[in-house]
């Protein structure tokens, strides 16, 4: 490092170009909107986490002694609603995707910057309804809103919660729309489809689901509210409806929604592996098309949530078969990531630790999904803790691991600062250990027959529940540590160069933090994704020595 630093004028970037609350609340810069989203979803992550803490505390002992049954039912409902609709669904797309899609394709912003800002406001309007539902007494239907309980029996704030989800859905539709148009029309010269980073492919596939699936959820949830208010006969047999119809409509969105949550993280993991092995992703086209395949097949498997619902056994047969079809592209990704490591140059920096964690936990989460796709086993383990463990392996072990890995990886780009490597590795390790201790025992609990959403449970399940709760306290601590050092690093972290790792994407070819228009001149792409050309090797090494 040079010892003589000349006093140069601070270069303008998207963070210091303007100050003041108004410059943030009225911004149309996708990078600033990403940070607005980051603040919103972090807030909801800790709200949802607080509900989880209370749930795990209650389950330390078999009898329902800490909170009442009503309260417990509200806790798991609000945990689910907040984590899914207000944290996981917007997490990678609305924060990292918002920040990175234009940078990665070499554009100055998203196609519709104002719509992008509108989507954040819409999200917050939905959030207000949800917060109202929470503080005015909560809702106890489960995040799945099964009828006729939700439409005719629950006497909690179902309509407020439903409206919250209904409204928030529009923000994800707008985000998806923006991504699709941007990826189609705003790629830099030379950025062909097969030169796109896999992060972009994953976001493209996710956006398709957001646009096609979310309206169905919105309509369904609105119909529940209508049945509650006006007793139109849709889902409650007492008014001439069919409760199983609700389940079909609900899972038509909510199963693809799983892929809204996991696909973007898969995209992140592809970037992390490429960067920290300095290698192009093995079987790039297979990984790219597997994202699209997951998005397409994901729409055809909803009935596997309903094998015991009294759905026709023949429908069950088809849904089981198709569920296995959707497992193949996920397996293809895992195998290709693993093969990428072959003859590579692996560095164990924090984001890579998260990528390793993701692959291991997603593999277990995916394979246990096969149990649930298998008709004969699903009958026994559905609606038990086996399902709870399975989807937390995908959502927390997969989606959140990917999100945290991505947040660390792009943190220097977003803030222009490096975070402390030691603490970030410790946190990654604690999260990995805490996660497994929390959720692995739940697979066994489910196989032994403990149903989910139980406030009190028979004594023979206590040992495993205590292990799970102990793990949750470790996991909770693990999540607090990055919160502290990331905020610390914004002020005190060492300054990051434009390409600190180094990596190959276009986002690393502009300053950290990037200027408002992303690039000083329009980039021209002449290399493939993840390709270290001699030239960018040289610049990467120069960057390293600085």
């Amino acid at each position: 490092m040079s010892t003589v630093t000349l006093p140069v004028e601070r270069s303008k970037n998207y963070l210091n170009v303007d100050y003041g609350v108004k410059s943030w609340l009225l911004t149309t810069d996708h990078k600033r909107i990403a940070l607005l989203y980051l603040a919103s979803i972090t807030f909801f992550f800790f709200i949802g986490g607080a509900f989880a803490v209370l749930i795990r505390l209650e389950l330390v002992t078999p009898p329902g002694d800490l909170v009442s049954s009503e309260t417990y039912n509200k806790l798991f409902t609000m945990h689910g609603i907040v984590m899914i609709f207000f944290f996981l669904i917007p997490s990678v797309p609305a924060v990292l995707g918002n920040f990175l899609v234009p940078l990665m394709v070499g554009a100055r912003d998203l196609a519709f910057p104002k719509l992008n800002l509108a989507s954040w406001y819409i999200y917050n309007l939905g959030a207000l309804f949800t917060i109202y539902a929470i503080v005015s007494g909560g809702v106890d239907t489960g995040w799945t809103f099964y009828t006729p309980y939700s439409s005719s029996y629950a006497n909690t704030h179902v309509i407020a919660a439903a409206l919250g989800i209904f409204v928030a859905g529009f923000s994800s539709i707008l985000t998806g729309l923006n991504f699709i148009v941007t990826i189609h029309t705003m790629r830099a010269p030379g950025m062909t489809w097969f030169r796109l980073p896999l992060f972009i492919w994953a976001h493209y596939a996710t956006s398709l689901i957001m646009i096609l699936g979310t309206p169905v959820l919105a309509i369904t949830i609105l119909l529940v509210a209508f049945e509650r208010l006006f007793h139109i006969g849709l889902f409650d047999p007492a008014y001439g409806g069919d409760p199983v119809l609700f389940q079909h409509l609900f899972w038509f969105y909510s199963h693809p929604a799983v892929y809204i949550m996991i696909l973007p993280s898969m995209g992140v993991v592809s970037e992390l592996i490429a960067a920290f092995t300095r290698k192009n992703i093995f079987g790039y086209k297979f990984v790219a098309f597997s994202s699209v395949a997951i998005a397409v097949f994901g729409f055809l498997v909803w009935g596997h949530h309903m094998f015991v619902s009294s759905q026709s056994v023949y429908a069950g047969l088809i849904f089981s078969l198709l569920s296995y079809a959707v497992a193949i592209p996920s397996a293809v990704k895992v195998f290709n990531w693993t093969a990428t490591l072959y003859r590579s140059s692996v560095s164990y920096q924090t984001p890579m630790l998260y990528a390793f964690g993701f692959i291991g936990l997603f593999t277990i989460g995916g394979l246990t999904g096969l149990f649930l796709a298998s008709l004969g086993i699903d009958v026994h383990v559905t609606d038990t803790y086996f399902v709870v463990a399975h989807f937390h392996y995908i959502m927390v072990g997969g989606a959140i691991m990917g999100y945290l890995g991505g947040l660390h990886y792009w943190w220097p780009k977003i803030t222009g600062r490096l975070y402390p490597e030691f603490w970030s590795k410790i946190a990654a390790l604690i999260i990995f250990v805490g996660f497994n201790l929390t959720f692995f025992p739940q697979f066994i609990l489910g196989y032994l027959g403990m149903p989910r959403r139980y406030h009190a449970y028979p004594e023979e399940f206590q040992v495993l529940n205590v292990m799970s709760s102990a793990g949750a306290s470790i996991l909770g601590l693990g999540y607090l540590i990055p919160m502290v050092y990331l905020i610390w690093s914004m002020r005190y972290g060492p300054k990051a160069g434009s390409n600190p790792w180094p990596a190959t994407g276009l986002e690393w070819q502009t300053a950290s933090p990037p200027p408002t228009d992303n690039f000083l001149e329009t980039p021209v792409v002449t290399w493939d994704a993840y390709e270290f050309t001699p030239e960018n090797q040289r610049t990467a090494m120069v960057e390293q020595r600085m």
Binding site: V244, N280, L341, Y342, S345, F356, G376, V379, G449
Partner: protein, 336 residues
């Protein structure tokens, strides 16, 4: 059945362990072997390999098809109720399980069954969706408003087994459980004959049949305005406008709640609906009564009723048409 489910389960556990260990071992091996030794290191790119891609598409595909076929065969066995099963009516409501043995005994949150006897449950709910779940028997089936669902199991070892409600059903969901007592045949007989002096379910149904004035139209001498119900249960009925239907629980229930849905050939659609007038439990009482006057006192019913289509989906959904309250067609005899 538990053995068959577990065999498949442990096959999947083996597959899961194999692939998890394989992936983890490869990651660790590569991560150590190819760790970065110098910051100047830029490995040669590798494009991919069609051969490898094919291998790791085909092998998982074949394995998954094994799982699919195996799982489906277990599922069909789980859902196809055997013939000559002991039939028990179940009514779920927030937050209890009511069991009705056809020959008298009634119990709540406790179900006594003889060992090595296949038991078929015909289930209804008074309110929301519940799910009948006995982990030890690997049996689970939702109980859905507006229709009958079935489940069956066989206790092969005497003992007490947990019964849970597995579908979230409101405040006391986790308290909606109990026990299944599997008993030696002698103990079971003693239990059946002891205790209850209550009227049998069918007798309650008969009383209800009189109270609701059903007997004024459904007369046993074929002079009534409705079909004769004696000897009906389990038979195949010819419908007006063609087609047939088996007179099982689901059909009788539908005919009471939505009489115009499937009218018997040769009769007018004049029966009013009883939707909202009878509870699910009362419906089952009426069915038990009709069943008791079926061919050879229910024996045929025990073997025949719904035995062929035990799949839950084959039970028709109820009340597809709006609830009408026919006043003009209401038979005069309905008004005492």
């Amino acid at each position: 059945m538990a053995g068959r489910v577990d065999a498949l389960y442990f096959f999947l556990v083996a597959v899961t362990i194999f692939f998890s260990v394989l992936i983890a071992a490869l990651e660790i091996y590569f991560a150590i072997k190819y760790r970065r030794r110098s910051e100047r290191e830029f490995p040669e790119p590798i494009e991919g390999s069609m051969k490898l891609e094919s291998i790791w598409i085909i092998i998982p595909f074949v394995l998954s098809m094994v799982m699919f076929v195996w799982g489906a065969s277990v599922y069909f066995a789980l859902y196809r109720p055997p013939r000559n099963a002991l039939e028990i009516y179940v009514v779920a409501k927030q937050w209890m399980w009511k069991f009705q043995h056809l020959d008298g005994q009634r119990e709540i949150n406790e179900l006594h069954v003889p060992v090595n006897q296949k038991v078929k449950l015909i289930m209804a709910t008074e309110d929301v969706i519940h799910s009948f779940y006995v982990p030890a028997f690997r049996v689970k089936a939702d109980v859905v408003p507006g229709r009958y669902t079935t489940a069956w199991f066989e206790g092969t070892k005497p003992g007490r087994y947990h019964l849970f409600c597995a579908e979230y059903c409101g405040t006391n969901h986790s308290a909606m459980g109990g026990w299944v007592d599997v008993m030696e045949p002698a103990d079971y007989q003693a239990w059946m004959s002891g205790g209850s002096t209550e009227m049998s379910f069918a007798a309650l149904g008969q009383k209800l049949f009189q109270d609701l004035a059903c007997h004024t139209c459904h007369r046993s001498d074929a002079t009534g305005r409705g079909p004769v119900l004696e000897g009906l249960f389990g038979k195949t009925v010819t419908l007006a406008g063609g087609g047939t239907v088996k007179a099982d629980e689901a059909y009788v229930r539908e005919s009471i709640l939505n009489p115009r849905a499937k009218v018997v050939a040769g009769f007018e659609a004049i029966m009013p609906t009883f939707q909202g007038l009878v509870s699910e439990e009362q419906l089952l009482q009426l069915i038990a009564y009709i069943r008791s006057i079926g061919p050879s006192q229910g024996q045929a019913a025990a073997t025949g009723a719904a035995a062929d289509d035990g799949s839950p989906g084959s039970v028709p959904a109820e009340s597809k048409s709006p609830q009408t309250n026919p006043s003009s067609t209401e038979p005069k005899s309905e008004k005492p």
